[in-house]
């Protein structure tokens, strides 16, 4: 737009409008998300990738989930992550899987992982997806390293709150 020369507001109207706008907000609802009681609802149950079509499916990028029955130990995720955060290391596993000759599966160190999801993009066997559980804090760095067995467990995340907007402003309902 052509530079509108904003007309010099008289100080009195400026203050009155500011007070009016400020006090108008006393009636609007509060916007804060009270985290432990309210948890945000994410779309779907985690980011997935379909190697055939070469495109991902929208979802929150939280903790990984590893499907042991599909993982072939091809180390593609480890090679991809090596350039990004070196968070994935391959470890021997005890059970025998026929499709996993070498018997190795990814172990993810969440102290280093940046949750970019490129390992999910790199996995050609639908074995590694992401869930929408992001509460991974622990007391020691070692506890942040998730073994393949831990990664196989489907986390329970019960977020049910999202942003609602109506006449009285926006709030987390």
């Amino acid at each position: 737009m052509a530079p509108s020369i904003i007309k010099k507001k008289k100080t009195a109207t400026g203050f009155i409008k500011a007070i009016e706008s400020g006090s108008k907000h006393l009636l609007l609802k509060r916007f804060t998300l009270r985290f432990p009681e309210q948890k945000l609802k994410f779309v779907g149950d985690g980011y997935q990738f379909d190697p055939k079509r070469g495109v991902g499916i929208a979802g929150a990028r939280g903790r990984h989930i590893l499907f042991h029955e599909k993982c072939t130990g091809c180390q593609l995720c480890a090679i991809t992550c090596e350039g990004i955060a070196e968070a994935i290391g391959m470890v021997k596993i005890t059970e025998k899987w026929k499709q996993n000759k070498k018997g190795i599966m990814p172990q993810i160190d969440y102290g280093k992982c940046v949750f970019c999801g490129l390992c999910v993009d790199a996995c050609p066997f639908y074995a590694l997806f992401m869930t929408n559980d992001f509460e991974l804090s622990s007391f020691t760095k070692e506890h942040l390293i998730y073994t393949p067995a831990q990664l196989a467990v489907k986390p329970k995340y019960d977020g049910s709150v999202d942003i609602k907007i109506d006449k009285r402003g926006a709030w987390h309902g």
Binding site: M1, P3, I6, E20, G44, I57, G59, I84, V114
Partner: protein
């Protein structure tokens, strides 16, 4: 330490009086107080500039960036094109789609590929939403810099709306890694279009509130009008970019000047002001936000409903030898990537030309001669993001 100083001062003092000379004369240097608005200062972020203050006037300013230098350019030479995305968005994580946008464009030119139409639309929408997130965060910090705590809370709150949209789109709140050479990582979830329209309509009503309580507040006007005036010639000479340039009367916006992807199909007006002062540099991003709202609306209804969003590239794409320079309008101005590739999957040289690094040249130019009280309103109106400038 103070003990020796006193003794030495004492000696000098007696000496002069004993010899009948007049008392220790105050040299020019003593009158100035050197203040380091340092890396650990609520008023500067991870960036330091030393100022010499004579009473309340600043007489000397020397910016000293580099406290958060990560060597992005060196790191990108050791990673292939896709692996570069997560670390290339780190310089300014809350504008991450824009900063990797020109990288993806440049790499696509090297690979000689072109992104499907729906992918280009989603990429443009994500970058517009991300521009809103950045400008709101910048506006919030600008408010608290001037002591207006409400102006920190409202934008920080409304920023959550756009972060919520981007989380639905890309999966991560801030570090999206959503913009990949070849398109976007995943398709928009269903119901995204209605939710986005609803949030944008609500946000436009919020913008009117910002104007009432902040921009038309006489005290804010007093603190920013004709403060730190950067004339049009100086702006061109110093090569500043983005809202700092548009506030000095030059309507230069890369989305209009060199439209990339689908921006040539969108009709929007470049927002600029002619008053060249700190108020203009604060008001132009506000006008940009309002203009972005209607850009998002246009993008949403021009977007094809179905179609691919991402090219199926080889896992380790090799770029043709050659070089490409692509630039994009990020929150802080023209953000250009100059990539040289020598045929291997890893780029030979990546040079990132960011808006902050070019805008900070205006800081000493503007600060010298202004008052100490103006330092926050001038410094933050330059739209400077320390981490991005250091790369």
């Amino acid at each position: 330490m103070s003990k020796e100083y006193d003794r030495e001062f004492e000696k000098k003092f007696q000496e002069t009086t004993r010899l009948g000379l007049e008392v220790v004369k105050e040299s020019e240097e003593d009158r100035l107080m050197t203040l380091s608005v340092g890396p650990q200062h609520p008023g500067s972020g991870h960036f330091r500039f030393t100022i010499k203050v004579d009473g309340d006037y600043i007489v000397y300013c020397d910016p000293d960036p580099g406290y958060v230098h990560r060597g992005e350019e060196k790191m990108s030479e050791y990673r292939n094109f896709i692996q570069n995305i997560p670390h290339l968005e780190r310089p300014v994580i809350h504008d991450s789609t824009n900063i990797t946008y020109s990288y993806s464009l440049a790499v696509e030119e090297l690979l000689g590929v072109e992104v499907p139409r729906r992918g280009q639309f989603i990429r443009a929408i994500a970058s517009e939403l991300n521009r809103q997130v950045y400008t709101l965060y910048w506006l919030a910090i600008y408010g608290i810099f001037l002591g207006h705590s409400t102006m920190f809370m409202w934008p920080a709150g409304d920023r959550e709306l756009f972060i919520d949209l981007l989380t639905a789109l890309s999966g991560a709140r801030v570090t999206h890694a959503y913009n990949i050479p070849g398109g976007v990582r995943n398709d928009a979830p269903d119901g995204f279009k209605e939710k986005c329209l609803q949030y944008v309509k609500y946000f436009e009503k919020r913008l009117v509130e910002y104007e009432d309580i902040f921009y038309n507040n006489p005290l804010f006007r007093q603190r920013t009008e004709n403060v730190g005036v950067l004339t049009k010639e100086d702006a061109i000479n110093l090569g500043v970019t983005g809202s700092v340039l548009r506030a000095s009367g030059i309507p230069h916006d890369i989305r209009k000047v060199e439209p990339y992807d689908v921006y040539d199909e969108i009709d929007f007006k470049v927002q600029y002001m002619k008053t060249c002062d700190s108020f203009a540099r604060a008001y132009v991003p506000f006008l940009d936000m309002r203009e972005s709202c209607n850009i998002i609306k246009q993008l949403l209804d021009k977007m094809p409903d179905s179609g691919e969003v991402r090219l199926k590239l080889q896992s380790n794409p090799k770029g043709q030898p050659g070089e490409s320079y692509k630039r994009v309008e990020s929150g802080r101005g023209a953000l250009g990537y100059y990539i040289v590739s020598d045929g291997s999957p890893k780029p030979y040289r990546v040079k990132i030309s960011v808006g902050s690094f070019r805008n900070i040249l205006a800081l000493p130019h503007l600060l010298v001669g202004s008052k100490l009280g103006d330092m926050p309103s001038i410094y933050w109106a330059l739209n400077y993001w320390p981490v991005e400038a250091d790369r």
